[in-house]
Symmetry: C2
Subunit: 159 residues, 2 copies
């Protein structure tokens, strides 16, 4: 799926950025595994500890305080933030609980994916968030999160 | 090796950040694969396209213009930059050519690893750069770069 997304963005002349928490770099790694990804993939941030979501991805402190790091709002702000910082056309984010322990009452496997992209007929970006409840090991939850993020972008691109 | 490094930093109460180019998130992913990494690993940047090395990791534009993205100086500045931005005690960076094509006359497999950490008896950080010449596929060059970066940090920590 990373290959299909990179191929589609290359053909359309569009760029991409990522902001990751629980996937910890795996999403960017999946995208950059594709030869020629550098034409499309600008870069990303791994905003692992909560304060890094503000510092590296520009998520407002009030959003983190009100909604917490594992939330739809934070996923969307991560995507919007890294899109703004990098100037990319599209941005993907992932935040959630990989385990082994739950986090602030959020169960292991709760994952939010954020997608942000150019608005249609408006300068305001389009964005959406998706919730997933994955099961399995830490490794499996991270891998499923990467797939879900790529699927969400593919859907937003109409693939 | 990621586990040994995370374990050592946890015991010493020290934090870590990463700035990656050719490894594209794999280094952060290797570190965050370790359960409990969030105690140590603050976060990182995937400064994939050249301008992102300035924008996300604070590498001075003059350094990029004079030395290029694949150089010891840029590797060191990536590590120093992400260490400064995240406030981490230690920082690791990787920049180089994963292939399949060479880049600005640098051969496929030329990789620079940067390490930055607290100075001993001084406020000025310590830093160093290491050159590697790897062979093999894009996947193998990226994997070897991750191992080399972790080994370089382990050596700096005296492991």
């Amino acid at each position: 799926m990373a290959e299909r997304v990179i191929d589609c963005l290359t053909r359309r002349g569009l760029s991409l950025a990522t902001a990751e928490s629980l996937t910890g770099g795996l999403l960017a790694a999946a995208l950059t595994a594709v030869p020629g990804a550098s034409k499309v993939f600008r870069g990303g941030v791994v905003s692992y500890q909560t304060p890094m979501k503000q510092l590296l991805a520009g998520v407002p402190e009030e959003v983190l305080a009100a909604y917490g790091p594992v939330s739809e709002r934070t996923a969307v702000e991560l995507a919007l933030g890294v899109r703004r910082i990098t100037g990319a056309d599209w941005a993907l984010s992932a935040t959630g609980v990989a385990g082994p322990d739950q986090q602030d009452c959020h169960p292991v496997g709760e994952v939010w994916i954020g997608v942000a992209g150019p608005g249609v007929g408006t300068a305001t970006p389009q964005f959406c968030g998706h919730r997933f409840d994955f099961t399995g090991s830490r490794e499996l939850i991270r891998a499923q999160s990467v797939s879900a993020a790529l699927d969400a972008l593919a859907a937003a691109l109409g693939l």
